[in-house]
């Protein structure tokens, strides 16, 4: 098996297309020995990053694209998701866990990404998210 996988992909703003990419990345993570718990975290965070890019970044405009770049090794997964939107200030998102926002149906994506990944950071204008997931199984096998 190769020691690292690197891919650059551009997809239209489409939930089924995003799902296909998500499934490809998850399949690769399993091949590199990530636990099911890590795979769940990866799936959830990818889902949030991609759906945010489609819904909020590209406003579900099918003529706009999403660019993905990812590196997968046995040690960690690095993912960049970029949309064609004008960006946003991630520090300006209301806390979805506060009592006044608990019944709001939106606004939990960033919270979930931050909870399930080891690193989540945005570029200056907020239209590219970079996430890292470390493999908790790495080094456990001889």
């Amino acid at each position: 098996m190769t020691t690292q996988t690197y891919q650059e992909i551009e997809i239209p703003s489409s939930f089924p297309k995003a799902k296909q990419v998500e499934e490809d990345i998850i399949a690769a993570a399993r091949k590199y020995g990530y636990s099911e718990e890590d795979v769940f975290a990866l799936q959830l965070s990818l889902e949030e990053a991609l759906s945010n890019a489609i819904r909020h970044g590209n406003q579900e405009d099918p003529s706009k694209s999403i660019s993905l770049r990812y590196y997968i090794s046995a040690a960690q997964i690095d993912i960049y998701v970029a949309d064609e939107g004008t960006g946003f200030d991630p520090t300006g998102i209301p806390d979805p866990t506060s009592s006044e926002n608990l019944e709001c149906p939106n606004g939990r994506g960033i919270l979930l990404m931050r909870a399930y990944m080891n690193l989540v950071e945005y570029n200056e204008c907020g239209n590219v998210v970079h996430m890292i997931k470390l493999n908790r199984q790495a080094g456990k096998r001889a």
């Binding site: 998850i26 799936q43 889902e47």
Partner: protein, 112 residues
């Protein structure tokens, strides 16, 4: 990752909606449409059986929150039954375990 299936069954104590598979971005719209059609104004209780639900994203959670509101506006309440550990963790992370009534078994959720 399996596609979401939604089975709806009448029960003496209310309506049981069994969700199986992934409540993800591709399934959220269908889930919303199916739940919106449920007769929440005439049903005493609706139980979402989550025992076979293995994934939920924020879009899926958003649908459940909207359905929770719909049930509150009706005559009965919404109960979640038997979520898997990974789903419980998502509910706890988002603190939606404070919003939903969550039961560890279907029998418990169906009891008065």
């Amino acid at each position: 990752m399996s596609e979401l299936t939604i089975d709806i069954a009448e029960h003496d104590a209310g309506v049981i909606v069994r969700l199986a598979g992934s409540a993800d971005m591709t399934a959220a719209q269908d889930l919303r449409h199916q739940l919106e059609r449920l007769p929440t104004e005439e049903t005493n209780r609706i139980v979402l059986d989550l025992s076979a639900l293995d994934f939920i994203s924020s879009m899926g959670l958003g649908v459940l929150i909207q359905f929770h509101r719909q049930c509150q506006e009706g005559t009965g309440g919404l109960r979640l039954a038997n979520p898997q550990e990974s789903i419980v963790k998502v509910l706890e992370t988002t603190q939606l375990d404070q919003l939903f009534d969550i039961y560890t078994s279907l029998d418990e959720a169906l009891s008065p």
